[in-house]
Symmetry: C4
Subunit: 490 residues, 4 copies
C-alpha cells in the first residue's frame, strides 16, 4: 500500500473494520496504521484496479498524528533492596537483555512487555473480559503433577513425533496468531524460517500481516505448513483460499470454530484511550463506532452461521488436506467432529481471547479422550483421529502433561510471537531450541525415552478440575475496611 494512492470510496461499506477508520486517514499517509493489520495483497485482492490511482508524490502528505507506540508498562516493580543496603530507590534503567541471557519462554515475555510497542503488547497479551480463561489456560498445568519413573536407560531420548504422518522434531507446532507486524517489521515469515531451522510445523494464520504466499514462499523445500481458516460468508472466496492452499502444498486445514464473532479484549480496546493528552478530547475526536464495526465484521468476514452441515463441502474443497476443527471445547463436540469425518480437533479457547470462562484445554483432555474411545474412536481399528491442545504453554513439561493425557501435539502461540517481537527469527529459533533442551532433559527425568512412553500413568490429575478464576478488576475496585483510627487519605 505504501507510496500509492487508492480510491476506496466504494469499499467503505464492505470494510470489515468499518468505514470510520478509513475516513480518519482520508487524504493522509495510512501506511503505519495499515501495514501491521493487512497482508500486502489485501488491496490488490479486494479493490478494483481502476481504483489504484498511482504513486504518492513525495513530500506532499503530512503523516497523521498517531498514538505513539510507547513501550508497555512493566509490572509493578517494587525495587528489591537489600536490608542494610543503600537509600537508593530509583529503578535501574532496563537494558534489553542479550539473547544469551534468555533462559526460558517466560523471559521472552518479560522482554516483550518492556520493549514492545504498547499497541502490539496489548494486542497480543490481552484476553476476553476479565482474562480469566487466558490465565486458567496456563494455571491448569500447575494442577498436574508428574509420576516420574527412575532407572530406565535414558542415555538416548527421542522427543520427535509425527502429526498426520508428518515428522516434527518435537510434539509442538507454531499455532496461528494474527497481525505479526505489530511485533516485528518482517512479520510471520520469521516464524516460517525458525520453524524450518528446527523442523517444526507452522500453522499459517488467515489474519497474518504477511500474505499467505509470502509465508509459503519463505518455507524451505519439504517444510510442512498447515493453514488456519476463518470461514467467510462468501463460500466461494473461502473455497478459493482452500484450493490455493492445497495447490501450494499445505498439508492440513484448521477451521476455527470458536470465533463466530471476534471477542472483546478490553485491555486492547483501552489502548485507544491511552497516551492522549486528555481522554475526553480523544473521545470527542474519535467517532469510530465500535459496535457497528463489530456487527459488520460478523456479516462480512467470519460467517457466524457456519455449522456442522457445512463441513462436508469444506472437506471436499480441501482435496485431501487433513481437516481439523480448531476451538472444540467439550467432549460432545469432539465426538461430533469425529462423526463428521474430521481428521482431528484442537481443544482450544483461542488463547482465552473469545469466551471468558471457557475451560482449560488441558482439563478437557480426560473427558474428550474417554468419550471418543467410548464412541469407537482412538482405537487401532478406527480411522485416525488426532487431538491437539493449545493455550498457556510455557514449558516442555506443560507439553508433556498434555501428551500424557492423550494429545498428539500442542500448539504454541504467544511465546513464539514474543520471541519474534523481541529478537526476530533468531529469537524464535532460540525459543524452539530452549524447548528442545527442556524436552531432552525432562523426558530423561520422567523416564520416557520416546513420546510413546509418555503415558497417562505418568501424571497425577487429582487437582486438575479445581480451577477457580480470579478477577483483577473486581478486586481492584473492592475497598478493604481500614483498621479503626487509620484514615484513608483523600
Amino acid at each position: 500500500m505504501a507510496r500509492h494512492v487508492y480510491d476506496v470510496t466504494d469499499f467503505l461499506d464492505e470494510h470489515p473494520g468499518g468505514a470510520d477508520i478509513i475516513l480518519k486517514y482520508a487524504g493522509k499517509d495510512a501506511t503505519e496504521e495499515y501495514e501491521p493489520i493487512h497482508p500486502p495483497d489485501a488491496i490488490k485482492d479486494n479493490l478494483d484496479p481502476s481504483k489504484h490511482l498511482g504513486p504518492v508524490i513525495p513530500g506532499t502528505l503530512p503523516k497523521p498524528q498517531t498514538i505513539s507506540p510507547s513501550p508497555a508498562p512493566a509490572a509493578v516493580q517494587v525495587p528489591q533492596k537489600r536490608a542494610g543496603g543503600t537509600n537508593d530507590t530509583l529503578p535501574e534503567e532496563y537494558v534489553k537483555p542479550s539473547l544469551e541471557e534468555i533462559l526460558s519462554l517466560h523471559d521472552f515475555e518479560a522482554v516483550a512487555r518492556r520493549t514492545m510497542s504498547r499497541r502490539g503488547w496489548n494486542y497480543y497479551s490481552s484476553g476476553a473480559d476479565d482474562e480469566i480463561t487466558m490465565r486458567e489456560n496456563h494455571n491448569a498445568f500447575h494442577r498436574v503433577w508428574f509420576r516420574p519413573r527412575v532407572l530406565r536407560d535414558v542415555s538416548k531420548v527421542d522427543y520427535s513425533t509425527s502429526i498426520f504422518g508428518f515428522k516434527t522434531s518435537m510434539p509442538i507446532y507454531i499455532t496461528a496468531t494474527a497481525l505479526g507486524k505489530l511485533g516485528h517489521p518482517e512479520g510471520e515469515v520469521c516464524l516460517t524460517k525458525a520453524a524450518a531451522e528446527h523442523d517444526v510445523i507452522q500453522m499459517i494464520p488467515t489474519l497474518a500481516s504477511c500474505s499467505f504466499d509470502e509465508m509459503v514462499d519463505a518455507a524451505k523445500p519439504g517444510q510442512v505448513q498447515f493453514l488456519q481458516l476463518y470461514v467467510n460468508a462468501d463460500r466461494t472466496r473461502t473455497k478459493k483460499i482452500i484450493s490455493h492452499a492445497a495447490e501450494r502444498g499445505v498439508k492440513a486445514l484448521f477451521i476455527t470454530v470458536d470465533a463466530p464473532q471476534l471477542g472483546r479484549r478490553e485491555k486492547d480496546m483501552r489502548t485507544k484511550f491511552e497516551g492522549t493528552a486528555s481522554a475526553q478530547q480523544a473521545a470527542g475526536k474519535d467517532n469510530f463506532r465500535r459496535d457497528q464495526g463489530a456487527a459488520r465484521a460478523i456479516s462480512s468476514f467470519i460467517d457466524p452461521s457456519l455449522s456442522w452441515k457445512d463441513l462436508k463441502e469444506l472437506k471436499e474443497a480441501a482435496k485431501g488436506m487433513k481437516v481439523v476443527l480448531k476451538g472444540v471445547q467439550c467432549w460432545e463436540d469432539a465426538v461430533l467432529a469425529a462423526q463428521h469425518g474430521m481428521d482431528g480437533i484442537v481443544l482450544s479457547n483461542h488463547g482465552g481471547r473469545q469466551l471468558d470462562f471457557s475451560p482449560s484445554p488441558l482439563a478437557l483432555l480426560p473427558s474428550v479422550t474417554s468419550a471418543l474411545r467410548q464412541n469407537g474412536y482412538l482405537s487401532p481399528h478406527s480411522p485416525p483421529f488426532e487431538i491437539f491442545v493449545d493455550g498457556g504453554v510455557r514449558r516442555a513439561t506443560d507439553v508433556l502433561k498434555a501428551i500424557a493425557l492423550g494429545a498428539t501435539a500442542v500448539g504454541i502461540g504467544r511465546p513464539m510471537i514474543y520471541a519474534m517481537s523481541t529478537y526476530g527469527t533468531e529469537g524464535v529459533s532460540k525459543a524452539l531450541q530452549i524447548l528442545k533442551d527442556e524436552f531432552d532433559m525432562n523426558m530423561r527425568l520422567i523416564g520416557a525415552r520416546t513420546i510413546e512412553e509418555v503415558v497417562p500413568s505418568m501424571v497425577e490429575t487429582g487437582a486438575l478440575f479445581q480451577g477457580i478464576g480470579s478477577d483483577t478488576m473486581y478486586d481492584a475496585n473492592y475497598e478493604k475496611i481500614l483498621p479503626v483510627g487509620v484514615k484513608a487519605r483523600l
Copy 2:
C-alpha cells in the same frame, strides 16, 4: 421539604431513624441531610398538615456544618512504572473518563469509587460485618466454567426473555436499591428512564429517594415495573402501599424476607467518624444513639414478626399482582414459598448487606431447583414458579451461568447505581447497552441462540461449592513474624 418549616415534635418518637438525628437539625436547614434519604412525599404522608408551619424566610437560617462529602479514597494505587523509566512516582491527576471510555460494568465502579461522595460510596459499596458474603456473591461466578458448543448457526441470537409473561430485552432486571440521591441528584428516575430505553424491568425500592409515584410517572407507556416491599408492623399501611401499586399498574410485588432487621455495615458506620478534625471530638459531640435507633427502626418500620402465615393476606392485597419472596436462602424455604402459593422467589442475601456468611445465590440454585422439582414444581403441569437470583453480577457471562442453572432472570443492583452515580441516566443506559453487547457475543460463543438453549449442560459446577471467605480485618491485624535481624520500625 426544602424551604419549608415543619413542627416534627410529635413525630420524634415514631421516626424510624431515631429522634436524635432530628434534634440535631432543629432550627436549621436540614435539606441536604434530608433529601437523599427521604422521598419527597415522606413529610406529606406522615405529618399532620397542622404541623406544616409555612415557608422559610430566606437568609434567616444558617446551614449546619456537615461532614464534607469528599471523594472516596481510591484503591491503593501503587504507581505502575516502567523498569528503566523515570524517577517520577507522583500519581497522575485522576481525570474522570468520558462515557466512551467505559467498557464494562467494572469501569463504572472504578469511576464511582474515585468520584462519588464518600458518604454515597460507603453506603452503596459496604456489606455486613467482614463483607465476606458480599464478595462471595461475586466470587461464586468464578467457580463455574462454561461448556461451550460450536458449529451451531449463531448468525442470529435472541437473548430476550419474559418474566411472569412480561417481555424483557435480556434476562436481567434492575433490582431495588435504596437512597439513590446519595449518588445522583435526580435519584432513581434515572433508572426508570434507562430501563425504558432498553426494555428492561425496574424494581421500585421501598426506600427510594424518589417517591413511588415519581418513578411510576417517569415510566413510558407500557413500561413494566415491579415493587420491592418492606412489610410494616402497621399492616394497614402496608396494604395501602400494595393497593396503590396495583392501581398504578405495577406487575409484581417482591416482598423482602431477608431483613427482619437492617444489617450492620461497618464500613458505612465508620463514615461518621471520618473527615472530622478529631475522632474524639466527633464522638463527644454526637450523641446519636445508634443502638436505640436501630431497635426502634425494627418495631416501627420493618416488621420482624412477619412469617409464613402472613403471606395469604398480602397475596390477597396484591390483587393479581405476582407475589415473590425476595431473600430466600435455602431450598427448604424455596419449597415452602411454592407451597404457600407464591409466584416465585429471589435467591438473595441482600447484596451481602444483611447476614455475613449467607451463601451465594448462585451456589444455591442447584439444590433449590432440584428440591422444587422433587416437590412437584417447575414442571409443565405445575403452577408457574419463577426463580431469580441477585448479587455480585458484573458480566453477561455471570447472568448466563445463573440462567443455565435454572434462574429466569437476574437482578442487578450496585452496577446500575454506580452507572447512575457517575453518568446519570446516560450512564445507566450505557451499562445496559454493554450488557446487551456482552449477551450478544457470549450467546454466540457458548452456542446458544435463545435463552431456552442456555441449559444446565452448558456449565461445569464442580468447583462451585468450594467457597472460602477471606477476612481482611483479621489479616490486617495479623503481624507476620519478621526475618531475624530485620527489625520492625517504631
Copy 3:
C-alpha cells in the same frame, strides 16, 4: 512486692522462670518486671516470712534499665491515596480512637496493636512456631456458611443459655488468659467486672497477674466464675488450690491438658532482642538460659506426667464442682473424657500457642459429637456432658456456627484481653455489648429465636475440612525469580 526487700536466695532453684532472671534484678527494684507476671500473693504464698526483710528505704535503689515498652509496630501501612490526590505520602499520626468508634472485636485488636507495649502485644498475639494453628483457628470459621431460614417470627430473640445449669446472657464465656497486667495495670479484675455487668461467666486463669482471691472478691454477689487449672507435680498444692476454689464458690474446674510443657512462641521470644542498641550486645549481656528455664518450669510448675489415671483424684478434690478437660484435640480423647466421668471438654489448642498444626476446634466438632453419640453420650438419657470450643472467635456468627455444630458455648480470650488492654473494664464491657448486638441481629437473620433453634442444618460445612496452613517465614525467605534484565538491587 513493691517497696519491700526480700531474700530469695533459697528460692532460686525452685523459681519456675529460672534463677537467672531473679539474679538479674538482685539489689535492684524489680517491681516493673515482677508485677505483670506474678499475682500479688506469689511471694507471700511461696516465701518463708523470715525472708521478708522489710521496706525499701526510698531513693536508695536505682531502677534497672529495662527494654522500653515501645508500641508494637503497625501493619505495613501502605498509605491509601486518592489517584489524583496530593503528593503527600506521610502516614498520619495515629490518634487512639474513642471507644465510640469501636465497631467490632477486630477494632480492639487494631488499637491494641498500635498502642500496647511491644512486650504485651507480643506476649498476647503470638502463637507456636509458624503460628499456623493460631490463624487456622480463625480461618476455619470462614469455611462454614449459614443456611438461614426466613419468615419466622423473630420479633423476639433470646440468645441466653446456660452452662452446667448456670445462666449466661449469651453462649460465650471469657476464657483464661495469663499475665493480664501486661495489658492493663488493673489486670484481670477488669474482666471480672465487665463479666458481671453483662452476666457472662469468667474463667479465672491460674497464671493471672491478679490473685485468685482478688478476682473472686471483685465478683458481684451470685456472679458465676470457673477456674482454669494447671496441675502441679506437687499434688498437695494442686488440691489446696482446688479446695480453696470450691470454698470460694467457683462452679467448675477446667483442667488444662494441652500444655504438659509451655509452648515456644518465637514472636514473643524475639521481643527480648528488640529495642536494644545492638543485638550482639544484648546477646552477650544476657545469660538467661531459656532451655534450662523451660525444662525446670516443666518439673516444678506443670506436671507433664499428668494422665488419665489422675483424674479420679482431682474430681474428688473438686467436691462437686464440675470438672472439664480443656485442650482435647481429637474424638478419641473426647470419648475417653466422658468415660472417665468428666462433665465436659473444651476442644482447644490453647489459642494456637502450644502445638503448631493442631486442628481447629471448629473442624473437630462434627467428629467429636458424632463419636460421643456413637458411644452413648449426648443423649437425653446419658449423664450431662458439655462441649466447648475456643480459639479464633471474632464475631457472634463464629459462635453461632460452633453452637450449630454442637458446642454449648464458646470461650473468648484474646479479644477480651485486647479490649481490656486498650480501654480497661469499659472496653471489655463494650466488647461484650458488641457481641450481644451481633447475636441479636444474627439470630434474627438466620431465623433462630432461641439458642436451641441454632441447629446443624443451619450451617453448610462442605469446605470446613480443607484447611491449608500458610507459612510466612518460609515465604519471606523465598526469593522469586526476577524477570530477565531486571536486576536485584544490592
Copy 4:
C-alpha cells in the same frame, strides 16, 4: 590446587564442566573459582603427575576479574512503620544477628539470604524451572494436621531411633548437598563435626568441596556416615569409590536415581549475568557453551543409562553396606526397589532441583507404604526395608508428620547448609539443637513418648493431595487490567 601450576591441556575434553571454563582461567590464578567446586584431590586423582608443573612464583600472576560475591538481595522489605510514626523510610542496616538470636531453621535461611555470597545463595536456594516442586516440598507439610493425644504421661520423651540398626539421636540425617565451600571455607567437615556432637548421621555427598577422606577423617570414633553416590559411566571408577567407602567404614550407600542429567536451575544460571557492567558485554565476552557442557557432563560424569539391571553389580560391590535408592518418586518404583533387593529408598525429588512438578515426597508416603505392604514388604516377616524422605523440612513437626506416615527418618539438606554458611560448625550444631528442642516439645504435645508411638492416626491427611503449584514468572509477566482512567505510567 592453590599455588601450583598444572598442564590441563589433555584434560580439556574430559572436564565435566566443559573446556571453556578452563580456558577462561588459562595462565591465571583459578583458585577462587576452583576451590568451592572441587575436592582438593580432584587434580591429583584425575591428572597425570607429569602434568603437575610445580609451584607458582609468588607475585607473578594477576588474579582474574571475577564476579564479585556480593550478598544476595533480601526479600522485598517494605519497611514496617507505625502508623503515626516518623517519616523515615530508610531501611536500617542489617546487622548479622548473633547465634543466640536464632530461634528456628527459618532464621538461618534469613541470615544466609542476607549475608551469603550471591553465587552461593543462588546455587543452594535455586530449584528446577519455576521452582514449583521445590516449594511444594515444603508446602505439602502445611496440608497435614496433627491429631494430638492428651493425658499421656509425657514426663519423659525419647525421640531417638535407629536407621539400619544405627542409633541416631533423632529421626533425621544430614543429607548430601554439593559444593559446601560456596557457603563456608571449611566446607562439609563442618557438618561432620556437628553431626558428631549431636549423634546424628551425615550422608557424604559425591560432589562435596571437601574430599571423601577429609570428611571421614573428621569423624569421631564410631560416628556413622553414609555415602551418596552418582554412578559413573566408568563402572570401574564407581566400584573403586564404593570399595573405598566400605573400607573406610561407611555404613550405607545411597545411589542417586533422580539425576540421569543434572537439572536446570535458572535462578542459578542467571547469576552469571549479574553484577556485570552490561549484560550485553558479559554475553559477548563469555563463550562458555552451556549446552555442550551439559551434554558432556552426562556422558562422562553421571551415567544416564543406569537401570534396574545394574543394581546387582553395585550391591555386590557394596560388600555388606546397605544399599538405598535415593530419588524414587512413585510407588511402582518403590516396589521395584524392594524386589531388586535394595535395603530402602529415599522418596526425594532432589530438593526440587531436577524435575519441576515432581510430587512432594510427603504426599507419596501413603501410596508407597500401602503398595509395599500389598506386595509383602514392611511386615515383621519381610526383609527389612526402610523408607526415607527429604525436601522442604524446616521444623520437627514436619519430620513427625513423615514419621507418622511411615518414614524411618528424614533427610535435611538446605537448612544445614544455611546454618553452616552463616555460623560454621557452631551454626550446624545450633540447628541440630533447635531440632532436638522442637522434638522434645512436640513429642510431648502430640502425646508420643517414643518414635514408635508416632503413628498414622496422629495425622489428618485429607488435604494433603490438593497441591497446586504457583508460577512466579508467569504472574510477574501478567499485566493486570487497570481501572479505567488510571493510566499506566511509562
